[in-house]
Assembly symmetry: C2
Homo-oligomer: 560 residues x 2
Amino acid sequence: MKIFIAQQNYHIGNFEYNTNKIIEAIHTAKAAGGDLILFSEMSVCGYPARDFVEFDDFVDQCQQAVQKIKLHADTIGVLIGSPAQNTLQKGKSLFNAAYFLYEQEIKAEIHKTLLPTYDVFDEYRYFEPAFEWKVVEFKGKKIAVTICEDIWNLGDNPLYRICPMDQLMHQQPDLMLNLSASPFDYTHDEDRKAVIKANVLKYKVPLFYCNAVGSQTEIVFDGASLVFDKDANLCKALPMFEEALEWVELNEDGTINGEIVEPASRMPDKELNPATLEEELNIAQIYDALLLGIKDYFSKMGFQKAILGSSGGIDSAVTLALACDALGAENVRAILMPSPYSTEHSVDDAVQLSKNLNNPYDIIKINDVYESFLHTLSPLFNGLPFSLAEENIQSRSRGNLLMAIANKFGYILLNTSNKSELATGYGTLYGDMAGGLGILGDCYKVQVYALARFINRNKEIIPSNIIIKAPSAELRPNQKDSDSLPDYSVLDKILYQYIEKRKSPADIKAQGFDGELVDRTLKMVNNNEYKRNQFCPIIRVSPKAFGVGRRMPIVGKYLS
Amino acid sequence: MKIFIAQQNYHIGNFEYNTNKIIEAIHTAKAAGGDLILFSEMSVCGYPARDFVEFDDFVDQCQQAVQKIKLHADTIGVLIGSPAQNTLQKGKSLFNAAYFLYEQEIKAEIHKTLLPTYDVFDEYRYFEPAFEWKVVEFKGKKIAVTICEDIWNLGDNPLYRICPMDQLMHQQPDLMLNLSASPFDYTHDEDRKAVIKANVLKYKVPLFYCNAVGSQTEIVFDGASLVFDKDANLCKALPMFEEALEWVELNEDGTINGEIVEPASRMPDKELNPATLEEELNIAQIYDALLLGIKDYFSKMGFQKAILGSSGGIDSAVTLALACDALGAENVRAILMPSPYSTEHSVDDAVQLSKNLNNPYDIIKINDVYESFLHTLSPLFNGLPFSLAEENIQSRSRGNLLMAIANKFGYILLNTSNKSELATGYGTLYGDMAGGLGILGDCYKVQVYALARFINRNKEIIPSNIIIKAPSAELRPNQKDSDSLPDYSVLDKILYQYIEKRKSPADIKAQGFDGELVDRTLKMVNNNEYKRNQFCPIIRVSPKAFGVGRRMPIVGKYLS
């Protein structure tokens, strides 16, 4: 049996685009003699469609797409994903479903059992879990169809009471097919392989895993679809971060016809990757995820050109390099906006960076705007000493200038804030926190440096001066980040323990960090929820990013 | 049996504050000879604690609070709410629980069964539903304890598969106690009474319902706790929007000792209130909810003073009047910031408003700042005609000035955008969309007018000129909202059908609205998700507010 895996990049709610893409792959597979083609979870509408599925009209359009695709599933079996009405009048009104289409009919409708409702996932908000489990019969084979999370409980996942594959095994399936929309984070790649292998080891039938690819606002789906034979050898690994349509020939005995990519013996058994903050940790993957995150945000929003403030610091340098790679240097405009407190080398460094990248840039001094604010406010400020207010005026003047240029010429403002700054509130609302998309908001400062080294791996793109100088906001004379914040090498480790690991203050102190510093840091994190609440979407690369996956009460008083 | 209901206003995560408040009420009840005292859902930590409960340390602190309170529950029975560990190793690691404390012991732990996971609720994200149902025995009575949503399925709520009260009825309870944290919206008051009455009619035992009061960032809990006797007569109704500690004497036969507030015969049977957009619709309740929303945001964040831009328009006028009522006029500073395009009457109207309210105000012309932006940008703008960019510069100059004054003197900026503007994207990011709390963001423009009339019900506080003149942003000569937007009386109805009712374009057109206008309006709503995503929390008064309760994909392409 020749089985195709269509790893595709959908656009949420863009039914025409998604449907055409699916139909095209069906025709390619048919032309190549495919028996069956597998698509990813919620393929007709894109994942996550969020509250769109609460609109009956949206679900109707999903169903119309299924009907349209059905007509192309004549001599080839097709598995696609879509929301489906729950007609039982019991539980939520929808299922997260897969449709098995063949002979221009819906031969089976499969419902997802395990509904992830944590971090960025809200599936229990919309869907009812499956009531029953049945294999699909096709060309003499019994197929166990599951959807994404369904294979993430091997009986040992404490999150769930049910193991859907255990249910399906009562009917002795010959193979397992899984439709997924499983997002990237820098710990996930190895976990995924290990979990899929563990399923094959447990159930002893081959598994075809089709994952979505593409970025949807903040969530990056990395593809990396996989095929395992019945002996848990990896027989096919689709690429990360790009679309692909590939196939394998499944033999009668459950082996795969073709070369083994990685034998079971060489892969570790299920052993989840402990995340660390080390640079070695897949910085190339993070780079690729950010690239796709930028590309897809622009293409799906219908934008072409980006703008950003280029300060001569490391964050804007890395953001600029990423944006030039994603959108083409000619489409990324850098604006250098020195203030009275900017050092000369900052401008020089930023100019050199744009020369290296060959992207357009302008220098606009903010002195006049800054002075006009001070002058206008002087009757109220009445000679009071320089304070945070004046620092923020500079930052917001820059934000205002960038937005004005963006509005005039149709640019989208890229935000350059990193995760360490966002965590501690070291940024100005409507100033350096302005922008439509946060490129580095899920990368700690130490990871931003790692990205800079990665960008410079072959030649110096980011001037070394930008990498080696001490970080500074340059909003008052001789200012350094270290005046207000602990050293990033310490700060980031504390933040990581609190944000990613959700450790208590006592636990973190027990790891050897200074007690006063830990308390002060966690307090900064919790006191700045209100700022992050107004921040733009952040491209998610970690298991715990600020944004939709982390929901904190703003008026909360915990550790603050 | 003398039963107390403690309708209290908790501060999320402020354990010392919440615990002391609970203990104080216990002592008051004991001193008055109470047998039992009932608190609201999640009383020890406040509701909703959101992702705080994912921190073991936070849950530990909840448990410590329970232990502390337990010592005061000696001769009086106490029912409090708290997260509890799920020790079964099956399902999510926590329960949403109630503890029955008596004789300084935990006599029973009750778990919530129906976990709301829709709109602003995320309970399935954190909690496992109950595995079993058992009445609590106390002083010869059997008590059925349920938590909030548990009584919202009378067997006919399609959201749920289980009806916990049906389970508990097998043990023939003598009374029902319910701990709630059920938020206000302008449709909810009558619904709640009807649902509670329906429970009593079905199970024929008295019901004591204790709801939380107070605002938690955007969600307003209105209290309005209730007691019904076994014949479904309303025997006690606690006030809305304020704390209260009240009691009733429950007789042996299930009747209540005391006057009946509202006999069952005079209340409608369960018949949910169809929401409309009419002014009559509880505008006084909306006013009170907004007032509490402002008050609690400031008190829980530790703020005293507010600032806002006073334009002479209806939105800022209503916001200013509300803020003065909530915080005291002396604590609310209005800044009038005319631009070159402002009309003279706007300043006059805004001055008159502040004189009527007796709050401090300043007039700051933005001309210099605006000109300095134009001058600084002139090399780039290069003589291009006036456009949206220049309008936004004015709006952002105001935002920047307000934030500068706020930063300098410790004010919090109140945002004055209404729901119609936010829906259509008729506002400037970082300009008039700036601010820490959205006061009117869940009120359509027609409701803002209704609030203005309500504010003026006894005397003219908002000058009539502000109410009668045509709305304008005054960012270019002779600008009117109606240049860009449909008339609000039509627009708001379309928005309501789409946002609150989730109707399809076809359904809305079938109601008689112009087809092109409907399409254009829904497209505006969906195209401006990115703007609302960066907006501050909005005090929620409707069943569907922008913010945490409405989650849309930004890159989505539905109806856009």
